[in-house]
């Protein structure tokens, strides 16, 4: 009995250690290890406010970090710290990492913005990068040690909108399961700036297509309320597909997998987000992959990679805001075997022309950041 109890306790301790390690990988132990010796390398750390495994945003950023180690391992030592979902620990981690001898500290999203504003002021000789938000709206210059990165995801959303609308108004020339029902859908995770930016671009694309077509396409917006409840997302998508929606653009991170699941159940098309989601399923589930007509890619990892390389070369501008979109090749529609097989050449060429026009500045895509919330509501209401 004593023995059994001892063993169980030991097992419990082990499990709880594993549990903690997963929830907040390396917040405590790891951070200090790399800082002891100065090996002449550039030390870079990516702070993930959440956990890896979203199949999109953070995983992509982490891939950029891994690529840095693989290609610049002799001069750059880069690592990723997962801060877990407990927000109270994020700022503390940011402080602690700033006290260690990292040269460049990278973090992301509006949720880290306020913390970074404080920390960046407190440690003026440290360098920081924040992506997917500006350190302070319209005031990147106030923080001379922070480099802000924004993505113009609305441009990718626009192309997805044109594609979706063309599928629903019958001009795409695509065969079943496209029924030319005149209905398309959008499912977002939460109503935040970035998801709205995707949605606004998507709506702008549909409006653009509506203006040149006789058949008006309507848009239904739904939001899951979080980024992980795939079951809820599947139910939302099922409702939309049952109502006749031809294609749904899902910008909901992990929850979006539920939308793709629903697409398979109902045999309808879906547009993925962030990474090329067709490739993810191409081998394991070809039927499902075949329904992912394309994905609006947001190559966060490439941006992280390029940013750190620029920093290493001493050419990264601090106190500045940089944005990446179609022109930089960071936002793009995924052109894969499935896209080429499913979308007729004529429509693909038209999308390429539109893309070129956006890059050339001839076509200005509405962004969430140009509009007030009321204006966004109006934009959506007009398409209903």
């Amino acid at each position: 009995m004593k023995k059994l109890l001892g063993m169980t306790l030991a097992l419990l301790t082990l499990f709880s250690l594993i549990g903690c390690g997963l929830a907040t990988t390396a917040t405590t132990g790891d951070g200090e290890v790399t800082t002891t010796t100065d090996d002449g390398k550039l030390h870079v750390v990516l702070l993930v406010n959440g956990n890896l495994g979203d199949m999109s945003f953070f995983d992509s950023a982490d891939a950029g970090i891994e690529r840095l180690n693989a290609e610049y391992g002799d001069v750059i030592d880069a690592k990723t710290i997962e801060m877990g979902t407990n927000q109270s620990g994020w700022e503390t981690t940011l402080y602690r990492v700033s006290q260690q001898d990292y040269d460049l500290i990278i973090c992301a999203t509006t949720q880290m913005r306020e913390s970074l504003q404080k920390v960046a002021d407190r440690y003026p000789d440290k360098d920081y990068v924040i992506f997917d938000t500006e350190i302070k709206d319209g005031a990147a210059a106030e923080y001379p040690n922070v480099h802000s990165i924004l993505f113009r995801q609305n441009e990718g959303g626009f192309l997805a909108g044109v594609l979706a609308a063309a599928m629903a108004n019958g001009t795409s020339g695509m065969s079943a399961p496209v029924t030319a029902s005149g209905k398309v859908g959008f499912i977002g995770g939460m109503r935040n700036d970035i998801i709205y930016d995707f949605a606004v671009g998507y709506a702008a694309g549909i409006a653009y297509e509506n203006a040149r077509s006789l058949i008006r396409v309507s848009l239904t917006n739904s939001f899951v309320g979080n980024f992980n409840d795939s079951t809820q997302a599947k139910a939302l998508a099922s409702v939309q597909y049952t109502n006749g929606t031809d294609v749904i653009f899902a910008a909901a991170s992990q929850a979006g997998l539920g939308v793709i699941d629903a697409a398979q159940t109902k045999t309808k098309y879906v547009i993925g987000v962030d990474s090329d989601q067709y490739l993810y399923y191409a081998e394991s589930n070809p039927v499902r992959a075949g329904l992912i007509v394309t994905s609006v890619m947001k190559k966060v990892g490439d941006v992280i990679f390029d940013t750190v390389v620029a920093y290493q070369a001493g050419t990264l501008a601090f106190g500045a805001l940089v944005s990446y979109g179609l022109a930089e090749g960071i936002i793009d529609l995924a052109v894969n075997a499935n896209y080429i097989a499913k979308v007729p050449l004529e429509l693909r060429e038209r999308l390429e022309t539109l893309k070129a026009a956006i890059i050339a500045g001839e076509l200005d895509v509405t962004s969430r950041f140009d509009l007030t919330l009321d204006e966004i509501d109006n934009l959506f209401n007009d398409l209903e």
């Binding site: 109890l5 169980t8 499990f15 709880s16 594993i18 549990g19 903690c20 390690g21 997963l22 929830a23 956990n51 890896l52 495994g53 979203d54 199949m55 995983d59 109503r191 239904t220 917006n221 739904s222 939001f223 309320g225 979080n226 980024f227 992980n228 409840d229 795939s230 079951t231 809820q232 599947k234 139910a235 939302l236 099922s238 409702v239 939309q240 049952t242 109502n243 992990q254 929850a255 997998l257 539920g258 699941d261 398979q264 394991s284 589930n285 209401n381 209903e384």
Partner: protein, 316 residues
């Protein structure tokens, strides 16, 4: 779309089919809570048991190529979590709530770890979905046939069977009566020679198995893969349904279905532009219903137990 179209929603079989689909995991969770509660254990580890079951089901379905074996593995995982819970609470006499919290955190962390160790990504693992059933003849009945007998997952039927099985357990079996006795008064039960530890453990294993069906339904019935966030508090909603159902399996299941219905409504309402309530508010509906239900239930019970007291208070 107009309000009329919105009302038409309630006439579509899809809407009721969705209620059934969304309610099934809640029914299993609620029954699991009920069985543990009857044995006098407040088991908040149901959520964790569902997470492990959902993962085990997906894992073993792809390993063996059979959805059925996957479901069995899920149930087994649920029972294992029940065993862990029983070992801590019954054998080691640890606080139920603490063990429940530990179980949930353990399952959340361990599932990410296992998925990462196997696939290298930290979020999802594909499973082999169960084939839905079409019941011949019955499926041709208008509305009812479309809701209950067309493309319905076998686990939905099992949930209905489980409700009556649990009812039978407590009404007609020795084990059930023993569980009730242990739950009502442990010392009295022990004095007549019932091994209370064993009875409690068995009850927790049954609860684990029921939670296991709920988890397996999520990953192989409703979806066809495991995602780390997919259980999303459904175990806790089950516990709430049990609390309102006041220990009656049928009432408990009906409240679970009510939550499923409110959830289905909040989802469907989003797709109707004439319905301008923000989705954030709609998403709180299932939880508001839970709170409202609990309040109504305790007011009624209070009045029943203390009719005079309640009247006096009103007078004052």
């Amino acid at each position: 779309m107009t309000m009329r179209e919105f009302l038409q929603l309630f006439a579509t079989p899809e809407f009721y089919a969705m209620i059934l689909q969304l309610a099934t995991p809640l029914v299993f969770a609620a029954l699991a809570a009920l069985v543990s509660n009857k044995a006098g254990v407040l088991n908040i580890g149901i959520e964790g048991a569902m997470v492990s079951a959902a993962l085990a089901a997906a894992l073993f379905s792809t390993l063996t190529g059979s959805a059925m074996l996957g479901v069995l593995a899920g149930v087994f995982a649920g029972i294992l979590m029940g065993l862990f819970f029983a070992f801590c609470t019954v054998r080691l006499r640890t606080n139920h709530i603490l063990v429940g919290i530990a179980t949930n955190i353990l399952a959340a962390g361990l599932s990410v770890f296992v998925v990462y160790a196997i696939t290298g990504n930290k979020s999802d693992y594909p499973g082999i979905a169960m084939t839905p059933w079409n019941v011949p003849l019955l499926k041709d009945i208008p509305l009812i046939g479309e809701v209950f007998f067309t493309e319905v997952n076998p686990l939905v039927y099992l949930a209905i069977v489980a409700v009556f099985a649990v009812r039978f357990l407590f009404r007609r079996t020795v084990l059930g009566v023993r569980i009730l006795a242990v739950g009502k008064n442990e010392a009295a039960a022990a004095s007549v020679g019932i091994s209370t530890d064993r009875v409690k453990t068995i009850a927790l294993l049954i609860a684990g198995g029921l939670a296991g069906f709920g988890g397996a339904y999520l990953s192989l019935g409703y979806m066809s893969s495991f995602n780390t966030g997919m259980v999303a508090g459904r175990g806790f909603i089950g516990i709430a349904a049990e609390a309102i159902g006041a220990g009656n399996p049928v009432a408990t299941a009906l409240f679970a279905v009510l939550f499923g219905a409110v959830n289905a409504f909040s989802l469907a309402a989003q797709t109707f532009p004439s319905f301008t309530i923000p989705y954030e508010l709609l998403n709180t509906l299932p939880y508001l219903t839970t709170t409202a239900g609990l309040v109504i239930y305790s007011v009624i019970r209070y009045r029943k137990l203390h009719p005079r007291l309640a009247k006096k208070e009103i007078k004052q």
